[in-house]
């Protein structure tokens, strides 16, 4: 999951980065609207956490620009946006949601609650109601970051889990290696050229060959479950 944190307060931004990383997200921080817009025009993000009080503009202006973006293109106008603000008046919340935000949290907030809200936003944006995924006999729990087959836990590394979750969330779409990398790594991280192949190889070994499929020359995908 790729998250853009638009927050000018260094303390909060770093705190969010640390917490969301622990949740397996790739986090980029922008301290101004200009920096945020540049990032949004460069890479796709799954969620944007937006502070309204930015030094160069009000955060609502960035939200308006995102929602008004052309389709297809970057940024994605349907990207879930969660507003983080110290303004707790009901009128501010209503205004924020009416501007096109998907959710609203008031500072200070609990990191666990924020992660849950982000997961809910992602579920809503993908049209799902359940918090967990099921691929054949395999159950994937994004909340507890666990994978099991027939009740037996399967031990995955954080990065392997992130690759699996990315493919499962996108199923049955095929994701290229670059697309998977874009969702798993932020701007600052340096990647090995075959890192994704290695993770997929390990996943197939632990989950079985049929879970992750390859479309030669295009990328990887998880097929949709056949209705029972």
């Amino acid at each position: 999951m790729r998250v853009l944190v638009v927050e000018d307060d260094e303390g909060i931004a770093e705190g969010l980065r640390a917490n969301l990383r622990q949740q397996g997200a790739a986090v980029d921080v922008a301290g101004s609207m200009t920096a945020a817009w540049a990032a949004l025009r460069t890479e796709p993000f799954d969620v944007m956490l937006l502070d309204l009080g930015l030094p160069d503009a009000d955060g609502s202006e960035l939200l308006r620009r995102v929602r008004g973006s052309p389709v297809p293109g970057l940024p994605d106008p349907s990207m879930p946006v969660l507003i983080m603000t110290a303004r707790d008046e009901v009128a501010s919340r209503i205004a924020g949601l009416d501007m096109g935000a998907d959710d609203y949290v008031v500072k200070p907030f609990d990191a666990g609650e924020l992660a849950a809200r982000i997961r809910a936003l992602r579920r809503r944006s993908s049209g799902r109601a359940n918090a967990t995924f099921r691929c054949g006999e395999i159950d994937i729990d994004p909340i507890h970051r666990t994978v099991s087959r027939g009740g037996a836990a399967i031990d995955l590394s954080a990065r392997e889990f992130a690759v699996l979750l990315t493919l499962v969330e996108a199923r049955p779409r095929v994701l290229s290696r670059a697309q998977i990398e874009a969702k798993l790594y932020n701007f600052d991280q340096v990647l090995d050229s075959n890192a994704i192949e290695v993770h997929v190889h390990h996943l197939r070994r632990k989950l079985g060959e049929g879970v992750i499929r390859t479309m030669r020359g295009v990328g990887y995908f998880v097929p949709a479950d056949t209705p029972a």
């Binding site: 307060d9 303390g11 770093e14 705190g15 640390a18 200070p108 990191a111 666990g112």
Partner: protein, 446 residues
Amino acid sequence: MRRRTLLGHLLAWVLGALAVVWVGFVAIGLTTGVHEADELTDGHLASTASLLLSQRTNEFVGARGTAPPLPDLKRHDYQQSMSVVVWDGSGHLLSRTGDAPEPPFDSSEGFATLELGSPPQAWRTFARWDSPAHGRRLMVLLSVDERDDLAWDIAGQVAEPGLWLLPVVAIALGLAIRRGLRPLGRLSSDVAALNIHAGEPLQVDHRHEEFRAVVESINALIVRYQAAMARERQLASELAHELRTPLASLALHAQSLQGTLSDGERQQALARIADDSLRAGQVLQHLLTLARASHAELTEAATSFDVVPMAARVLADYAQSSLDGRHELALLGASELVVTGHELLLELALRNLIENALGHAPPGSVVEVTVDRDEAWLQVTNVHDDDARIHRNGASVSRLGLGLGHRVVEKVAAIHGATFAEVPCGNALRCYRITFGRADGLASSP
């Protein structure tokens, strides 16, 4: 408790005044009636006496004794029962007519009120001699009771219309007052229905001149209330932002410490927690200052004090920290500026400005406190570097923290009837000035 209405109050006063006036009229009517009845009676007595004396003398001869009254002689309500007594010059009764008891003889002439009969009864009399030779003496008498009946009858005639008119006038006055007070009632209803929280002004259709000042004052108060509320909301919003930002950062870093972090990340999170704690403490200090300012404004009496020694004392407290930050502090300008207010609050405001200046000025720069007695201001000047990353005592001074600090100074300045503003003083300088107003009870030194 049910409150009295202005309508009832006015009605009571008007009807009370009306009753007093009416009673006055009755009293005057009665007095006039008695007086006029006296005059009429006396005139009547004199006329009768003149008429009888002009008759021939021998008509009285042989008529001695009391002639019995003829029945059914009364033909008019105001017809009076007069009695006539005639004596000769030596006091022998020649004639006596009417109900009056016989009066004693004497030689006097003119009007008199005599007590005659048993039991004694008052009679009004007029006596006269027929000629200077005193051949006959004639006296005409009229019962005083009969005269008083006439007086009361006249008074009654005067007062009676007023008695009938009083309730009619009262009802008419009541209706007129009720109708006349309708604009006041409408104003009262409008004021009662006023929603000052919505900022709606009082409608301007209260066109009576007497209401103009009231309506304008109420609308001015609404505007001031709205402005004050807006300031309070803005201040509350800023305070919330200022306090919640470090708290949010604190919570996030504390929670990140519960997860997996590298040693470097752990040290960084701990350092950030320390920074944020200090930052939250600074915000709380501002909050306490604002609370103290409000308390002082409400409860403490203003006193006169000299700003200059106070500024010198405050600057001296920052000697070591300025040295540590490689700043230079200076106090310039007047040697005295006496103002009336709360010295402790002004000291807190000055500390705020100096701390902000030290926090934002690059090392090696000068922070000056200047006092001007002629224009009555106190100013803090510093070389300001907006782009510099500011660190003082290990804690960063936030951009927003500066705004809250200035809010505190604004509040303190307002309490002193002063204004606080940044004034232009050169490209590389920032000057924050508190200008004391002379009109609002603030006494500057001569």
